[in-house]
Symmetry: C2
Subunit: 560 residues, 2 copies
């Protein structure tokens, strides 16, 4: 690298240093912090960016996206359909040979391995910065593949997701800075004073494969990508075939940053496939792929967990999130918190609650209040559009319909609220569905709620609270849980309940009501996934998420 390149690299590190140090401080203190704003307000971003983002998104429609990667096959694929318009996006993505993508990544790795890790981190922070700059475009892209509402796509798939990526960079910096680059070693052996100079080199493992989910692609992808890149590993991003565009934008941006700074863009590539012919296995089995980050279905995630050996595997799949209500100080506030969290993105989030256990004396009034609150959201199309967004896939409509059929005529089971579309104010053809609410007032109905039902379904189960905690934590331990919730005014009950949640590896929110979505997980402050139950093995983010992505190779020689 020439002198100008060195200056530019030093400048890049300096430019992002304050952000990195603040992120390191934030993960230490776990305080609220972000270098970004998660509001799309024009007061923050100016009047031009929102329409420019929309225009940039619309310019993508009907085009072919080719990122000029190694091994083009000449073929293109594209299966995205907007949940808001019901129309195909018409975007085709150039297909590249998996072996060629891996080979390109391996070629790029050598130079990347030898790059100062502080510079690698600064380049990742630059990628995050540019992605934040493109976030209005990203918001439309996420909306029209995942079905998130505009505001949620802007915040949850933008700054909130980038924060998880920056958080991973903070941990990567901590873990790598923990290794001394060199040391002098002096000790006597017999009569001789031995003096050695030792050098410790950080060496990446190999290619990192990032498999993204369809409903929230960026949120888990950023930390995985940045954790691998910062520690020296190239990354191949494999989006879900029905949600490619957001990750294509991400990969395009990362490649541009790399190229702009004189690095091989093939450190970050996009691998596309179709539902009929999935390609992930080709990468999973490739010997040069040494790290796999997976977000998605328990089916494929479980397959990876049962079969991948000799490689690093980080997973987030799904579970059965529960709420236990023992007692409440403010019934309406609790009902509102439950109704809103069940309505947010029509319960297509990994933190959405599915089963609410309610103490018998509260069952009637709280059930009624929850239904009333859901009805209130559903009845206000503007509010419903902002909260519920759209249903990403037909499969979730099927899940809800099948659930509705399966409870027909069951004893002690009542439908308190029928699922129904709401009319979206901007998109009359949007695939929408408000929550199905089912009361279970007796009997053992695990068959109904003890597995994830991916869609707007809420079970309200009448159950004494201590018994409910036992069942909720058993479900967490055996079926997985990412977020669990508890409401009680009885401190003794809370104290005796929390050990069970800890033992089940269930992150617990207690008595949360108010403006913050109870299922909001904040980077730098909230750990996401414990790794202690079937909901996944990876935590966003802790030292374990980064510390194994690089290894240490030493050499030593006598000091002259």
């Amino acid at each position: 690298m020439d002198g100008a390149g060195l200056d530019r690299n030093a400048e890049l590190i300096a430019r992002h240093a304050a952000t990195l140090e603040a992120a390191i401080d934030a993960v230490r203190t776990r305080r609220a912090w972000s270098p970004y704003s998660d509001s799309p307000s024009t007061k923050i971003h100016g009047a031009d960016k929102p329409p420019a983002g929309k225009t940039a998104f619309e310019a993508r429609l009907g085009t072919t996206i080719d990122l000029n990667q190694p091994g083009p096959t000449g073929a293109t694929v594209g299966e995205e359909v907007s949940p808001y318009t019901g129309q195909p996006l018409g975007i085709r993505y150039a297909v590249h040979d998996p072996d060629a993508l891996v080979a390109g990544a391996m070629r790029a790795m050598t130079g990347w391995r030898d790059t100062d890790f502080e510079l690698r981190i600064a380049l990742c922070l630059e990628m995050a910065h540019r992605l934040y700059d493109r976030n209005f475009e990203m918001a439309h892209a996420v909306m029209h593949v995942a079905g998130q509402s505009y505001t949620q796509a802007f915040s949850g798939s933008g700054p909130n997701a980038l924060d998880r990526g920056v958080e991973a960079l903070a941990y990567a910096a901590k873990a790598m800075r923990d290794v001394a680059p060199t040391a002098d070693y002096h000790r006597p052996f017999g009569a001789e004073q031995v003096a050695l100079r030792k050098t410790y080199t950080l060496v990446p493992r190999g290619v990192g494969l990032v498999i993204c989910c369809a409903s929230f692609p960026t949120w888990n992808a950023y930390p995985a990508m940045f954790a691998s890149l910062a520690t020296g590993n190239p990354v191949i991003v494999k989006p879900h075939p029905i949600a490619v565009l957001p990750m294509a934008i991400v990969v395009e941006t990362c490649r541009q940053v790399l190229a702009d700074h004189g690095f091989d863009p093939n450190l970050v590539t996009l691998a596309v496939d179709t539902l009929a012919e999935p390609v992930a296995g080709r990468f999973v089995d490739h010997p040069d792929v040494q790290i796999i980050d997976f977000t998605g279905s328990p089916r494929y995630g479980g397959h990876l967990e049962r079969t991948v050996t000799g490689k690093l595997l980080f997973t987030e799949t799904a579970g059965v999130n529960t709420i236990v209500v023992d007692s409440v100080a403010d019934l309406d506030a609790v009902a509102r918190a439950i109704a809103r969290s069940s309505s947010l993105f029509s319960a297509q989030m990994c933190t959405s609650p599915q089963t609410v256990y309610i103490a018998p004396d509260l069952f009637e009034p709280l059930s009624a209040a929850i239904v009333e609150q859901v009805d209130a959201i559903a009845a206000d199309p503007a509010q419903a559009a902002g909260i519920m967004g759209a249903i990403q896939g037909q499969v979730s409509l099927d899940v809800v319909a099948e659930t509705r059929r399966s409870v027909e005529g069951l004893e002690s089971v009542r439908v308190l609220r029928e699922a129904a579309p709401y009319p979206h104010p901007q998109f009359p053809d949007a695939r929408t569905l408000t929550p199905l609410v089912i009361a279970i007032e007796g009997g053992d109905r695990h068959d109904l709620y003890a597995a994830e039902r991916f869609g707007p379904v809420l079970f309200l189960v009448r159950r004494p609270a201590d018994e409910a905690v036992m069942e909720a934590t058993w479900l967490a331990k055996t079926r997985g849980s990412i977020s669990s919730y508890l409401y009680s005014t009885d401190e003794d009950f809370i104290d005796r309940s929390t050990p069970a949640y800890e033992a089940a590896g269930a992150n617990l929110s207690i008595n949360l009501t108010g403006a913050m979505w109870i299922n909001f997980a904040a980077a730098y402050s909230d750990y996401h996934v414990t790794g202690l139950n079937p909901a996944g093995n990876a935590c966003l983010a802790d030292l374990a998420f980064v510390a194994s992505r690089f290894r240490i190779v030493q050499r030593r020689r006598p000091i002259a």
Copy 2:
């Protein structure tokens, strides 16, 4: 715990605090440091301890050792035979039901999980302290199961091994201290100021299984045991059936420390078996066993690496360690370093070199000098006894004999030195063998030296140095290497060679001669095993060795 217990715990933490902080400083600076002395000198330990240790060892012979663990089956096993006397030790070990040991460990885990991790670490430091105090007994135990010389058993299986354990404690402290126990979180959501108190609890994974090797049982066991115990996991130690006694002493000591401080001794138990009926698989497959630390053969280690999923697996197996000699400043010094490292414990160490590539112009003189140096050691029984010790198993004699037969009549292959026993000054029936030295001066003879031959066999291969580096690093990458060695006076050659070693994940010693054994690996300073080649996936010790052994479970609630 009562007031006296609390005081005692605080005192224990305080008593070991300086050691822990010094260890943390040492792994940061990688300087030479140890809280122990690795010399058995009576000037350090006093005149009484050496004979008392010998007496304690001898009192074990012919007895039954029963550690009063859960699930005694009534049976006993014992297959240990001293490599020094050729006689069975006559020690029987009580057998305990594997399920009962796991159940006992799980019962013990709850209280251990809830114990302040600083106290857990202090208890581990107390265990190390007591083991150091029993180290003369340990030295005899290791001698008579593993065949190490008295001095090596004292140092390498004593303080040097305990140091690796304390090193793991330092990393465990760093990783756990990195997690804030609580945080207050304040941020606005809309018009509302949200204030949450968050609590982050460290939760262990489950039972840790520690499978020990026969030739150097304590060295890898201590870091594994302490890493798991410090992070809250109970430990079941499964020694090799022919090398049980050292680990029985370890487990006995750990259980005593636990009991003395009011903790459940079943946090550390011993599982014994026989060569004919191995029991490790029962533990490996048990769902409550969540961490496996394995040291031993590539065969079983590879089996674990290929089959274990959904659990943490740390392995150290073996590889082909190479020396490349390009050029030398002092031929005798290099010859001596090679001869000594090949003679140490008769090459039964994971860091022993097996294949020495020598540049053609140096081949004759260096080969001759190496043989001369080995001969000098072998010819001096006192020196041989201190360096070579004994051969642990008949299998190593077979390896050497088979190697000798296989080179008979091969073109360009010459036996430079025959393997032969040396007479041990104290133990006339000791199973000893001095190194077989074979010269390979032409042709492609990978079949001879490209796999580990576990015993005193040294191949000297005539090969130009650049070519030798290519082959040595290819062997490291494909067959594994724990320690690699390079000799050159040409800085350009060294500079162009080191990237190949880094890429192969091979730790490299350059131009090492003198009093320090070149295959000595110092805790706190030398990383051991990179995880980048087949010699194992675990590094002693780095953050990755500890960071995944615990998980983080959080809860959050509004600040009142």
